[in-house]
Amino acid sequence: MSDHGAKRSSLAASAQAMGRGVQSLWLLAALLVVWEIAARLAGSLFVPPVSQIFVAFVDTWLSGSPSSLFLSDQFRVDVLPSLARLGLGYGAAAAIGISAGILIGVWRPAGAFFNPLIRLGMSVPVTALLPIAIVLFGITSGMNVFLIALGCLWPILINTYDGVRGLDRTVVTAARSMRLTRRRYFLQVLLPGASPAIFVGMRISIGIALVLMVISELYAATAGLGFYIVSQQRLFRFPELWAAIVLLALLGILFNAIFAVVERVLLRWHRNVRPEGAEGH
């Protein structure tokens, strides 16, 4: 469509955006108010009112100096190691999952060879491997990274495989008729064609990565958000515990938002070719 109308009035546009914000956030706000009131009335020790959680959140995570972006020492001690494990595990899963998924998607015998092993591997609930991971790695970050990587591997691998296998036949035939070199076929046909599916896998995995990061740190760690949550529970400091949960939620929202942006930029063509939008999961 034309761009002329878009910049008609930035004032009207921002008013509209604000309206949309109110429209989409009023329910969330209302639920938080209900929580506040219910928690005050019930006086539960375990579920403190929102206001207390908010105070604890600011005290725990945002009490740092401006030079450190207001992030507190606690943030450095517990959040950064968690994020590092998450990044390493997720990165390894993406690297292995995408390359292996492409390999078994392109080379049929490899696909048939690994098929039963992959089915078994993805069926084992990753957390069941916690005891083994502890034996293999001890209580080290390697254990957390291993678990995160393994949990994220399967969705990325399977979706990449599906993306490669599901490449439009016409697209593949057209590419064949042009006799592209292997490299060019890979970079300009196979990879972009499979990328929507790869992204689906990577988006599913980021949620799994967070869950596994927390679980593995609850199970055994000497620092990290999961570790922090357990220690606050032992100390009966529930506002602080909930503040950690809120931080996790914010991380989750942040990761999803990053994904949405990257996807919008890289997969603009996909959105436009098939505007049906929302995927199943």
């Binding site: 429209q23 989409s24 009023w26 329910l27 969330l28 579920v47 080379w107 048939a112 060879f113 690994f114 098929n115 039963p116 092993l117 078994l120 591997g121 069926s123 084992v124 609930p125 957390t127 069941a128 916690l130 005891p131 083994i132 034996v135 293999l136 399977i158 599906d162 599901g166 036949r169 593949v172 035939t173 064949r176 006799r179 070199t181 292997r182 599916a197 949620g207 967070l210 869950v211 596994l212 990061m213 927390v214 679980i215 609850l218 199970y219 958000l225 999961g226 357990v230 606050q232 529970q233 515990l241 949960i245 996790l248 939620a249 991380l251 989750g252 929202i253 929302a278 199943g280 999961h281």
Partner: protein, 285 residues
């Protein structure tokens, strides 16, 4: 040079992905059928496993021999206590699935159907599902103790969101043309709902349930490993503390098979109940 060009021979003989499993030229004429490769894959895994232990690359204290693991798996399968614990796990899984769908599906349908609710509720859903369920474990233990109730409530939290979200999307994505067709035939709200909206949302709902099914198992198991007093997870922990890796691995193998059984069972039911959801199922393989 023309010899660097490839004509992607893999695809050449396999013109159609042949979803119905119709044997294609490659599969029929080709020297090795798929299942043979699959068997070779499994065999290779066992050989590598055996070699890794035998050569001492990994000590037998942490990784048992495959034969021993298989034997222990056989023993566990006829062990009444083990089976009871499996039943405990499945029971928690089932309760969570039932409770989450009983609330999630109708709520999702409603929120998706009335556009006034859609936007505000989706921001709540996105906030809710961004919290990793595992973070609630310490609180859940305090609130609900170490029994089934704790496992179930944790699992419900984890699977409520995908079920709800998929029901919402399913209704939202109803083909407008189909709705228009229904209206042109003079159908009222109720008929549109039962004849158009529900059937077209069904595949998406099924996808949500399938995702939920494996997530619920993972969460229940995690709760068992991290504190609960019943279920397969506790058995595995016990054997680990008793330094019996052979039983630990056998237990994990059986849990894997259980996960696989749930997955395929689910696919089968889905195929029978929502046969028109083929396309979506394909992509979720």
């Amino acid at each position: 040079m023309s010899d660097v060009r490839v004509s992607h021979p893999v695809k050449a003989d396999v013109p159609a992905p042949s979803p119905s499993g119709v044997p294609t030229a490659a599969r029929r004429r080709g020297p090795t059928p798929d299942w043979a490769y699959g068997l070779a894959g499994i065999a290779t895994m066992f050989v590598v496993w055996e070699l890794v232990v035998r050569t001492g690359a990994v000590s037998a204290d942490s990784l048992p021999y495959p034969a021993a693991t298989m034997r222990r798996a056989g023993e566990l399968l006829v062990d009444a206590t083990f089976l009871t614990e499996v039943a405990q796990t499945l029971w928690a899984w089932l309760l969570a699935m039932l409770a989450a769908s009983a609330v999630g599906i109708p709520l999702g349908l409603t929120l998706g159907y009335f556009s006034a609710f859609y936007r505000p509720s989706s921001s709540v859903v996105h906030a809710g599902r961004s919290i990793p369920s595992s973070a609630f474990l310490p609180i859940a233990i305090l609130l609900f103790g170490l029994g089934t109730q704790m496992k179930v409530s944790l699992a419900i939290y984890a699977i409520f969101w995908p079920i709800l979200l998929n029901a919402m999307y399913g209704v939202r994505d109803t083909e407008p043309l189909m709705l228009a067709t229904g209206r042109s035939m003079g159908w009222g709200r109720t008929r549109l709902l039962t004849r158009v909206v529900l059937p077209s949302a069904a595949p998406s709902i099924a996808t949500g349930l399938r995702v939920a099914s494996s997530t619920a198992l993972i969460v229940v198991l995690s709760a068992e490993l991290l504190g609960a007093t019943s279920g397969v997870g506790t058995v595995i922990t016990t054997y680990q503390q008793a330094q019996r890796p052979d039983f630990v691995y056998a237990g994990i193998l059986l849990v894997g098979l259980l996960g696989m059984a749930l997955y395929y069972g689910f696919n089968l039911v889905e195929r029978l109940v929502v046969p028109w959801g083929q396309a979506q199922r394909e992509s979720g393989r």
